[in-house]
């Protein structure tokens, strides 16, 4: 009982402390890297799969024209779009359009493109992603280690309006990038960012490509690669921007899909963590503890709500926190999560004034956490755990969507 109470109270702090401490280690270690040369290491190709988003895909492809070294080929994969790429669309040099006859999902589109490519490195970008870094030499250089199977890039969130996008920006700036940095020092990643990632083609082929019956092909591929002994890493200097989801419901659906993918991955690949050579032991342990914590908070909430519904009081009074203890808890939260934010900001490498607006929305973060992240996990994780995905494309909502729907009408 005491152990469960300890996990319930202290787990978020323990996880935050691990991410912050090792985020700092990442920051200090990766800055030791020496000067970069401009000689290409490997040829690479780029895959941009899309469904009903030709403008976004084109914009992504055009963002690559300033990148150095240039990709050998860019493949735009139209996954059975109703609103596909126009015949007269102006494609960037070295770009090829691959049309698939039906909507079979992002993983199927990626696999179709992979089969046509010859380069050793394959970079995948979503159709809402825009390359910001022009020097890709550093990312390519990491593949000189033959054990490296994939490098995840840094996502810089683009926000145009509203608190919903600002909260996601806060999430990316203070949590997601920091976690990936910390995990890299542990020698593994929970997942690469499917929106901006480079894979070693032979590693992908060794695991049979992307799996088409999961809601999140990136989490699934990350765990299967690491189970097979491939190393994954995060490059905070290899940057792309992604537009944040504009509405709360769209965001909730996106996060539920991520949770479904996580549920499926835990079911299918957790045991393989114990295989000799599998790399993802630290993230598997922390993920399991996260799930234990979610279950404990749910039980705790139920026991607190039960008396209000007429059930007998199931917990003794000495377990109910006093106002002083709550204040202390809030103070400790502010100190530790403030430190986490500063460390994450240092990894992001932007001037602190960039975060001024984020500090204003930070008091809303608990609402975002419990209302979006927690509730989408509660519904998505069991669903993914119990059911296979249909392998259909679920487009993330964009700010331009209402305009297009109006145009269609």
């Amino acid at each position: 009982m005491d152990l469960l109470l300890l996990i319930l109270v202290a787990h978020p702090f323990a996880a935050s402390l691990l991410w912050t401490s090792y985020g700092l280690v990442y920051l200090l270690s990766s800055r030791k890297t020496g000067s970069r040369n401009q000689e290409p290491d490997f040829d690479y190709s780029v895959i941009i799969p899309f469904h009903d988003e030709p403008d976004g895909a084109l914009k992504t492809a055009w963002s690559l024209v300033t990148v150095c070294p240039q990709p050998q080929e860019i493949v735009l994969v139209d996954d059975g779009s109703a609103h596909g790429m126009p015949e007269d669309a102006k494609l960037p040099p070295g770009t090829r359009l691959l049309r698939l006859d039906r909507n079979g999902g992002k993983a199927r589109a990626l696999n179709a493109a992979l089969r046509t490519l010859k380069t050793e490195i394959v970079v995948c970008l979503d159709a809402d992603t825009t390359a910001i870094s022009t020097d890709w030499q550093g990312m390519l250089g990491r593949f000189r280690d033959p054990a490296v199977g994939a490098i995840s890039g840094k996502i810089w969130p683009v926000t145009r309006r509203g608190a919903t996008q600002r909260l996601q920006q806060l999430d990316y700036a203070s949590v997601i990038g920091l976690i990936k940095a910390a995990e890299t020092t542990w020698g593994c990643l929970m997942t690469v960012s499917g929106a901006f990632v480079a894979f070693r083609r032979s590693a992908l082929q060794a695991i049979g490509g992307w799996r088409e019956t999961t809601a999140t092909e990136d989490i699934d591929a990350s765990w299967r690669l690491q189970s097979a002994g491939w190393r994954l890493g995060y490059d905070y200097r290899w940057i792309a921007s992604v537009e944040m989801v504009p509405t709360l419901f769209g965001l909730w659906r996106q996060r539920r899909r991520w949770s479904m993918g996580m549920g499926r991955t835990m079911r299918d690949h957790f045991v393989s963590t114990l295989k000799p050579g599998a790399c993802q032991v630290p993230v598997a342990i922390l993920s399991s503890l996260n799930i234990v914590w979610v279950v404990l908070t749910l039980i705790c909430a139920m026991t607190l709500v039960a008396p209000a519904l007429g059930a007998p009081h199931p917990v003794s009074d000495d377990l109910v926190p006093t106002s002083g203890a709550l204040l202390e808890y809030l103070l400790a939260s502010a100190v530790l999560f403030g430190a986490q934010f500063l460390c994450a900001a240092a990894i992001q490498g932007r001037p602190l004034r960039t975060y001024a607006v984020l500090i204003l929305v930070a008091p809303l973060y608990p609402l975002y956490f419990w209302g979006i992240l927690y509730s989408s996990f509660l519904t998505g994780f069991p669903r993914g755990f119990l059911r296979q995905d249909l392998g259909r494309w679920r487009r993330t909502q964009r700010l331009s969507d209402p305009l297009r729907q109006e145009a269609d009408a």
Binding site: L6, S30, Q137
Partner: protein, 76 residues
């Protein structure tokens, strides 16, 4: 040998996380951990946890240097 490394890794990671949890628990729930009554002991416990977690990662995956650095210098 690989099995031993795996067992050591899991044990060190679990011990690391447990130490951090207990250290933080001593701050958040004073009186529940009488053996961690002073600040220095709490800091020591958390530091021990962080080191143990690091050791667990090294047992599991070896050095992370290959993915931390871009190796550009090695070719120069």
């Amino acid at each position: 040998m690989r099995l031993l490394r795996r067992i050591l890794a899991i044990a060190a990671l679990a011990a690391g996380y447990g130490s951090i949890l207990i250290g933080i628990g001593a701050v958040l729930m004073p009186g529940k951990m009488p053996f961690l009554s002073s600040g220095s002991r709490i800091v020591g416990m958390i530091a021990l946890g962080l080191v143990s977690w690091w050791a667990g990662c090294r047992f599991a995956n070896g050095s992370p240097r290959s993915v931390l650095n871009d190796h550009s210098r090695s070719r120069d």
